[in-house]
Symmetry: C2
Subunit: 298 residues, 2 copies
DNA sequence: GGGCATCCATAACCGCAGGCTATAAGAACT
DNA sequence: AGTTCTTATAGCCTGCGGTTATGGATGCCC
């Protein structure tokens, strides 16, 4: 059972005032019993108690403290959604949703934004992060219109793609690792090391970032991670190492992980993908912009 | 008037199926008229039409396309909030909300997270970005418990702080600018250039990043920006230049902006701030962790 | 072209949720 | 002990979110 957005506002008001009476009369302009009832209902809907009421004072429980910042964020996003929806309605602006998994960087976003401002003046880009567990990067479910992703994509899913950049693969190591003293590492020296892998649900990308094709025997998978941050956290903790594209080294710079180039591996290919049957102009222009960014002026 | 979260689910279902009948019977298990009525109500609540119904087919309007990804995000956050609230309730985990304005970087987050895992095992950190327009970084309104911010803070607002790092100020320029050929630039050479400023509502930080104290006459403000990305966008577009701390150069690397050190300016101070009267252990430990990260092992 | 199927809108109806007022009950302070 | 402040409970009513039944427009098929 879902709550109403209003209930979240009620909750926030009580959490900030730490008083049902004051929140009800001063901020929400409803009666105190009504507010008590709604909060109680929110609590039963979430199966937790949000406030400790000891007859005189009200305090947040751990659950309440956990919900508060998230409730604020949801309300904030809702306000934003209302506003931008009204705006889109007024200007008839269309939205192209771009999926990505790890941070893109490489100056791609501003460059593409600029190009699209010329070619598709009333389209706006909206970026949406998709977990590795969706190998179609949200394209299959229609959550995004186009996606920036590392190849390969799963086959026979009706997805089309073009390569927009090619980069050597590097490896992420904990700073104390013996191999971290080397400037560059042949992949042969890594085949017996434990690796942090993408989840199995990530499809062919899991094999690619384990470099399964270049191994004499299956990789030792020390842990699986759902996000890039999780992966690096695991690397920093010394659980294992992980491959990543050269361009991400700069993006994910941190002082508890070091990065070294690996040779003897085929490079990684960054691509732009879309649903094959989707022949909209905006999609075509977006794809061409992505390609032009790297194959053009450089 | 607020919608219910359920209405957003209804909207998403119709937007994905592009059919009221199918969405109602196959996915939502309600009657089609009920669904039509709810969508209509959502439309009147937002003052826009979300779907074009031409008697036979249903298509998204521009407003609908704008709302769709945002509605998905809100639902996603809600699911997450439910889950993490339940989790916090089960483990009695407490939450310390950390406010920030620009990206923090510098390895601070993982380092502090590690230290807190030892000293406060059942506290978790939650990060929350706050716009420049709030000079108290959300502390005043209670939106955050502690904040990582550049100094100075506004005076007489009951905020306490400690310095955790000191960095030279650099300047961001468009790559074609005549000063971009220099390796380092005396601030005296910049006083007559147009600058991108923080909004007036940002309080004393606006003056600090304009280096108002080091100018013989008031700065020329070419534009105001609400976020770091907006600032760099304006710099890339050639509207003006902007100062930033040395450590942010790496974080905000992009190929349409170049960064150069500036000499003749006092350095910027990165601080950790909290509400003076807030004497909770967790706050004290967090503050000490931040300080220790830079003044400790390095 | 007429009949049929499909799909959305409208109408009429019903039960419960969300609001109200009035009041009870516990805690702290005088 | 009495006063005051605060939350909880009880009972009531309106309106909203659901239902079924039906109408009207469009496309398809024979």
């Amino acid at each position: 059972m879902d709550a109403r957005l209003q209930d979240l506002r009620y909750f926030i008001a009580v959490a900030e005032e730490l008083s049902f009476t004051r929140a009800a009369s001063d901020r929400l302009f409803i009666s105190q019993p009504a507010l008590s009832k709604q909060i109680r209902q929110l609590e039963t809907c979430l199966w937790v108690t949000l406030f400790d009421r000891d007859r005189r004072t009200v305090t947040l429980t751990a659950a309440g403290a956990a919900l508060l910042p998230r409730a604020r964020r949801i309300i904030e996003l809702w306000e934003q959604a209302r506003q931008e929806t009204a705006e889109a309605s007024a200007t008839e602006q269309a939205i192209l949703t771009v999926g990505f998994q790890t941070r893109i960087g490489r100056g791609l976003i501003p460059a593409v934004t600029d190009r699209l401002a010329e070619d598709l003046p009333n389209w706006r880009l909206l970026f949406r992060q998709v977990p590795w567990s969706d190998p179609s990067i949200g394209l299959a479910k229609g959550e995004v219109d186009v996606a920036i992703t590392w190849l390969p994509l799963p086959r026979d899913t009706g997805l089309s793609w073009r390569v927009i950049a090619t980069e050597q693969r590097w490896v992420a190591l904990p700073p104390g690792h013996r191999l971290a003293r080397r400037n560059a590492i042949p992949f042969a020296d890594l085949v017996d090391e434990p690796f942090i892998a993408l989840p199995a649900s990530a499809g062919p990308l899991r094999e690619f970032w384990l470099a399964a094709a270049d191994r004499p025997r299956p990789a030792t998978v020390a842990a699986e991670a759902e996000t890039a941050e999780e992966t690096l956290e695991a690397v920093a903790a010394g659980l294992g190492m992980a491959l990543l594209p050269a361009g991400n080294v700069e993006i994910y710079q941190r002082d508890d992980v070091v990065y070294r180039p690996v040779h003897g591996l085929s490079p990684g290919e960054l691509g732009v993908a879309w649903r094959g049957p989707d022949r909209r102009d905006a999609v075509r222009v977006f794809v061409n912009s992505c390609i032009g960014c790297f194959c053009g002026p450089d």
